[in-house]
């Protein structure tokens, strides 16, 4: 996987599989501090201490269809390859938090990539989950909470063409505005 956004998608899918009803994704690009911080927090089933310890080992997985899980070790390796850090904490019955830090300017840091596509994909593909997405670019913040969208739509699917258009526009404009507002100070 060549984008941080693909890893975010992958980790968030773990949260979906863990039965989460609420998933928070934060992406913070801070140019001044030379940091790119990603966190994914869910209220899913969580893992016990032993499993958390072993979860970064590529030969441990919770999947039942195949015996090898690679998503988390991949993401950890990507962060550590560019002076970053990877942390995971979890509690059974409470949920899981994954936080990853990258050095923004590191030459080996993979690009953030298509974060808009990742968020749209998660929202529409898992419409029953409350998604809270927060994007920061230096001091600017864009936040998207799918709860009001879910309430308004009722039984109209998120994959209705006009709804897709609405969501795509909201996410895209929000991220672009956060970036543009800072452009001159970079």
């Amino acid at each position: 996987m060549k984008e941080i956004s693909l890893h975010i998608l992958d980790i968030a899918e773990n949260s979906v599989t863990a039965g989460a009803t609420q998933i928070q994704i934060q992406v913070a690009e801070n140019i001044n501090n030379d940091e790119l911080v990603v966190s994914i927090k869910d209220n899913g089933c969580g893992m016990d201490a032993d499993k958390v310890r072993r979860i970064t080992d590529p030969f441990v997985t919770s999947r039942t269809t195949r015996k090898v899980g690679l998503g988390i070790p991949f993401f950890k390796a990507a962060a550590e390859a560019c002076e970053g850090s990877f942390e995971i904490s979890s509690e059974v019955g409470k949920g899981t938090l994954v936080s990853v830090k990258f050095r923004h300017s590191h030459i080996d840091r993979m690009p953030l990539g298509d974060i808009k596509g990742t968020i749209l994909n998660l929202l529409i593909g898992n419409p029953e989950i409350r998604w809270i997405f927060r994007y920061e670019y230096n001091d600017n913040v864009f936040e998207f909470d799918s709860q009001p969208v879910i309430e308004i739509l009722g039984d109209v699917p998120m994959s209705d063409p006009q709804v897709i258009k609405f969501l795509r526009g909201s996410i895209s404009d929000g991220i672009d505005q956060a970036r543009v507002a800072n452009h001159h100070s970079v």
């Binding site: 996987m1 693909l6 998608l9 992958d10 899918e13 979906v16 599989t17 999947r63 269809t65 195949r66 899980g69 690679l70 998503g71 991949f74 298509d114 596509g117 990742t118 749209l120 994909n121 529409i124 593909g125 898992n126 419409p127 600017n140 913040v141 864009f142 936040e143 998207f144 909470d145 009001p148 969208v149 308004i152 739509l153 009722g154 109209v156 699917p157 998120m158 994959s159 209705d160 063409p161 006009q162 709804v163 897709i164 258009k165 609405f166 795509r168 909201s170 929000g174 505005q177 956060a178």
Partner: protein
Amino acid sequence: MNAIKNLDDLKKIREEALAKRKVTETSGATQVIVAMGTCGIAAGARETMKAVLEYIEAKNLPNIVVSQTGCIGLCEQEPILQVVSGQQEKVTYGKVSPDAARKIMQEHVEKGEVVGDFVIPSVG
């Protein structure tokens, strides 16, 4: 802080969608499912999903419910896309590139014709 601005727009969209649904109700909803496990994502499932959503948006197709599933144990066939149309049984497609996804949307989802080239045989 920026947030979603036009929730009133969304209310309008909902009303329009409901009105449209009454007209087309007899045909029933078609389900499109994209597998989004690590194997699927690494093989390009997000781009497949993107092609599906863009197709629905571009053609303004109502009554399609898009969802996701995890790894279904056929990692070598990823990206995998499944279609459940009306009363037909679920059809599972493998190696679905964005181009293949557009073809499946056009032939199967719109016209009801299964795209034989991409079907994974003997899968539900």
